[in-house]
C-alpha cells in the first residue's frame, strides 16, 4: 500500500521536472506560445535589487495621484496614469518581462512632495517617480537615476493679470507653492518678499488662484501645464528661473539598480518609447515634441 503512494509521488515529481524542463527549453528561443511569458522573464544577478524585486513579484512605485500629466489616479477608472506612471510601466516590463501586464506587478503608493524621501527611507516603496528634482541635498539621503525629464520653474497667473511677468514681480504678492518642494526654496531665493502660501499638493493652489486669494502659483512648468489645462482662464508667464532635472529616486544601497535603470532609460530613448510617452502625455499640454530629455 505504502509503496503504491511512493510510486505515485515519484511520478508526480517526475512530471513536475519535465514540465520545468520544457519551460526552461522555452528560453532557448523556440516560439512555444503557452510558456512565452515565462520565457521572456529577464535574468538578473542574485545579489542585484532587480532580482529581489522579481522574486518578490511586486514593484512598489511611489508616485503622485493628483499631478496631471505625470502621475494621476484617474477618478473615473481608479487607475494610475501619466508620464511618470508609463515610465514605471516600462521599467516593470524590464524586470518582469515584456509580456507581463505592468499593472499586475506594480503596487502603487501615493506620495506628495514632502513624503517622497521618507517613503523611500522607510522602505514603503522600491522607487519614486514623481516629478522628483535631483539636487545635492536629496542625493545625501537617497540615490537618483540619470535625468529622465527636464523642465524649469515658471509662474502661473489669471489671464487678466498684467502685473506679474517675471519672478521679481512676485515680491509683495501672494504666491502658492508646494510645502517642502524645491519650488518653495527657489521662490524664497529669487523673490524673498513674496508671501508664500504653502499647500501639500497643487490643486488647492488652483482653487486659491481662482478665488483671488493668491496672485500666482509657481512651480515646475510641466505641473503648471496640467493646472492651466484644468482652468483655461489662466496663463503661464515669464522665463524659466530654475532648472529642474527629474530623476527616479530609490533608497541607497540597492545593488546594480542605478546602472540597470540608466541602461533601461537609455533603451527607452533609443527605441522611441520615451518619445511616444512624451507625445502621449506632454505634447497635448506643451504643444512640442521631444525625442529625449534634453530635447535635442
Amino acid at each position: 500500500m505504502r509503496s503504491h503512494w511512493v510510486r505515485l509521488g515519484a511520478i508526480a515529481l517526475a512530471a513536475l521536472f519535465v514540465a520545468a524542463a520544457c519551460g526552461g527549453a522555452g528560453t532557448g528561443g523556440t516560439t512555444a506560445a503557452p510558456s512565452a511569458s515565462a520565457a521572456a522573464k529577464p535574468k538578473f544577478e542574485l545579489s542585484s535589487f532587480m532580482y529581489a524585486i522579481q522574486t518578490k513579484g511586486k514593484l512598489r512605485l511611489g508616485t503622485r495621484d493628483d499631478n496631471v500629466p505625470f502621475g494621476l489616479k484617474n477618478p473615473a477608472t481608479g487607475k494610475f496614469e501619466g508620464f511618470d506612471v508609463d515610465i514605471a510601466r516600462e521599467l516593470a516590463k524590464g524586470i518582469f518581462g515584456a509580456n507581463v501586464n505592468p499593472d499586475d506587478v506594480i503596487e502603487y503608493v501615493s506620495v506628495v512632495s514632502a513624503t517622497r524621501i521618507p517613503t523611500l527611507k522607510d522602505n514603503r516603496a522600491d522607487l519614486v517617480i514623481a516629478t522628483f528634482t535631483i539636487n545635492g541635498d536629496r542625493k545625501k539621503q537617497i540615490d537618483f537615476s540619470d535625468v529622465y525629464f527636464k523642465t524649469g520653474q515658471k509662474i502661473m497667473v489669471k489671464k487678466d493679470n498684467t502685473s506679474i511677468k517675471e519672478v521679481a514681480d512676485l515680491n509683495g504678492k501672494n504666491v502658492c507653492s508646494g510645502k517642502g518642494s524645491t519650488s518653495e526654496t527657489n521662490i524664497r531665493a529669487k523673490a524673498p518678499q513674496a508671501n508664500l502660501n504653502l499647500q501639500d499638493t497643487y490643486p488647492p493652489c488652483l482653487i486659491l488662484l481662482q478665488q483671488g486669494r493668491v496672485d500666482a502659483i509657481s512651480t515646475d512648468e510641466t505641473i503648471l501645464f496640467g493646472l492651466v489645462k484644468q482652468d483655461p482662464n489662466t496663463k503661464i508667464v515669464g522665463a524659466y528661473f530654475s532648472e529642474e532635472p527629474y530623476g527616479i529616486g530609490f533608497a541607497k544601497g540597492k545593488v546594480g539598480f542605478a546602472e540597470w535603470m540608466n541602461a533601461e532609460l537609455k533603451k527607452m530613448v533609443d527605441d522611441g518609447r520615451w518619445a511616444k510617452i512624451y507625445k502621449q502625455w506632454i505634447t497635448p499640454v506643451s504643444g512640442d515634441e521631444k525625442k529625449n530629455p534634453e530635447g535635442k
Partner: protein, 223 residues
C-alpha cells in the same frame, strides 16, 4: 542634541515664530470657545424648548463632524458662499481661529451645562423666592458655582485645543507643526524636526496641566 535643530534656522518661518503663532491661535480660540460655549450651555438649560433645540443642534453638529473637515470647509469653501474671513494674508489664521473656537465651544458647552445642572435645585428655588429673576439666578447663583466645578474638565479641553491647533498646518497656518514640516523638508532630519515639535507642545501643555491642578486644589479648599 535633540531639539538643537530649533535654534539652527533663524528665519521667519521657523520654530520661534511658529510657537508664537500656536500660542496666539490657542489663547484666542480658547477665549472664543469659553464665551460661545457658556452661551450654548445657557441655551441648553433654557426653559424655552426652541432655545434648547438650537443649543443641542449646535453641539451635535460641531461635536460629530471632524475638526479637519470643518477647517477645510472654512478655508476652501467659504468664498464660494460669499464669505471672506479676512485678507489673503490673514485668511488661514482667521479660519483656523474660528474653526478651533466653534469646535471646542461644543465641548465647553456640554461641560458648563453639566455644571449648571449640578447646582442644587433648592438654591435656585431659594433665589427665585428671594425675588431674583431667572437671569439673575443664572448670573449670581448658578454660573459662579458652575465655573468652580468645571475647572478640571475645562483644563482638559484647553489642553486638547492646544494640540488640535496643529491641524491648522494643513491649511497653511505657519504654526509650530508647519515649522517642523518645513525644517524636515529642508534637512531630512525627520526625527529631530518632529521630536522638537513634540517637545514644544509639551512646553505649552505641561504647565497648563500643572496650572489646572493648582486651581482645582485652591477652589476645592475655598469650598
Amino acid at each position: 542634541m535633540p531639539g538643537g535643530i530649533v535654534f539652527e534656522f533663524p528665519d521667519q518661518y521657523l520654530f520661534p515664530s511658529g510657537l508664537w503663532i500656536t500660542i496666539q491661535l490657542s489663547v484666542l480660540s480658547l477665549l472664543g470657545s469659553l464665551v460661545l460655549g457658556t452661551l450654548i450651555a445657557v441655551l441648553r438649560v433654557s426653559p424655552l424648548a426652541p432655545l434648547r433645540w438650537i443649543g443641542a443642534g449646535y453641539v451635535e453638529f460641531f461635536r460629530n463632524t471632524p475638526l479637519l473637515v470643518q477647517l477645510f470647509f472654512l478655508y476652501f469653501a467659504t468664498p464660494y458662499v460669499g464669505i471672506y474671513l479676512g485678507t489673503p494674508e490673514t485668511f488661514a489664521f482667521n479660519a483656523a481661529l474660528l474653526g478651533l473656537a466653534l469646535y471646542h465651544a461644543a465641548y465647553v458647552g456640554e461641560v458648563v451645562r453639566g455644571g449648571l445642572i449640578g447646582v442644587e435645585h433648592g438654591q435656585i428655588e431659594a433665589a427665585r423666592s428671594l425675588g431674583l429673576s431667572y437671569l439673575q439666578t443664572l448670573r449670581f447663583v448658578q454660573l459662579p458655582q458652575t465655573f468652580r466645578s468645571v475647572v478640571p474638565p475645562l483644563g482638559n479641553i484647553a489642553i486638547a485645543l492646544v494640540k488640535n491647533s496643529s491641524l491648522a498646518a494643513t491649511i497653511g497656518v505657519a504654526e509650530v507643526l508647519f515649522a517642523g514640516e518645513i525644517v524636515e523638508s529642508r534637512t531630512f532630519r525627520a526625527d529631530e524636526a518632529y521630536g522638537s515639535v513634540a517637545l514644544l507642545y509639551l512646553v505649552l501643555t505641561i504647565p497648563m496641566g500643572i496650572g489646572v491642578n493648582w486651581l482645582e486644589r485652591r477652589l476645592v479648599v475655598a469650598r
